[in-house]
């Protein structure tokens, strides 16, 4: 969790050159392979890789219903930066996703930010921080739950 309290950050060093990482994130034939959780097929229904372009991915859930993720690209600076709005209904709506890539030889420094713009999400972030900081309390509650 970053300092501004509304951004969730995940960082990785990827064992691949930057252009390949960029392509894997932005080309539909690649997206379909990694977007969904294991064993779940992703259909790329719409994908317009341009600023203002929309994307919509559908995942077939075990109950037969589709789980839809969609958004609009806000910024594209290949192969270093991508910003898009995103809705994952009904769980997460109105977030902004940022992908930042930095070449380091044959490796790529990968930073993924989920930015929550609304007050409601800030509150939920606060709730998350509350859980993160209170592991012992919740261990105790978990014990209580088992009794």
């Amino acid at each position: 969790m970053s300092q501004d309290n509304r951004t969730l950050t995940i960082e990785r060093i990827l064992n691949a050159p930057i252009q390949l990482v960029w392509d894997a994130w932005t080309q539909p034939e690649h997206i379909a392979k990694w977007w969904g959780p294991k064993g779940m097929d992703t259909r790329v229904e719409v994908h317009e890789l341009k600023v203002g372009g929309t994307w919509r991915f559908a995942m077939r859930m075990p109950d037969g219903k589709d789980f839809i993720a969609e958004g609009i690209y806000k910024e594209l600076s290949p192969p270093n930066k991508l910003v898009t709005s995103a809705d994952f209904k009904p769980m997460t709506e109105g977030v902004s996703l940022e992908v930042l890539l930095e070449a380091d030889g044959d490796q790529t420094k990968f930073t993924f930010n989920v930015v929550h713009p609304t007050e409601e999400y800030c509150k939920q972030q606060e709730a998350m921080g509350f859980y993160n900081g209170w592991a012992s309390t919740f261990d105790r509650l978990a014990e209580l739950l088992q009794t």
Partner: protein, 108 residues
Amino acid sequence: MRRDVFQAMADPVRRDIIELLARDILTINEVADHFDISRPAISKQLRILQECGLVRIEQKGRVRYCSIQPKELIPAFLWIDRYRSLWEEKVDSFEAYVNQLSSKNKKL
């Protein structure tokens, strides 16, 4: 006003009360002793926690005892686990795929 676990956790005093009651069953006065704010203000927060289902208040004689209802916290556990894992899994999946692509390219 919404009455659920997320509402209960939206206030720092209520979070402190939850933490206290996770350790012990306390009377309202004992809860109030832990805070600088007035007893009526603590009673109000306890009432909200009760309405959210997180705290049970039981009258025994002249004393009212407060206890946590841990099962009511489950939705928050689930929500947070789901939320965190949503993004972590996606990045893990992406990393695995990129590694796979990368090693394929090296072989070519």
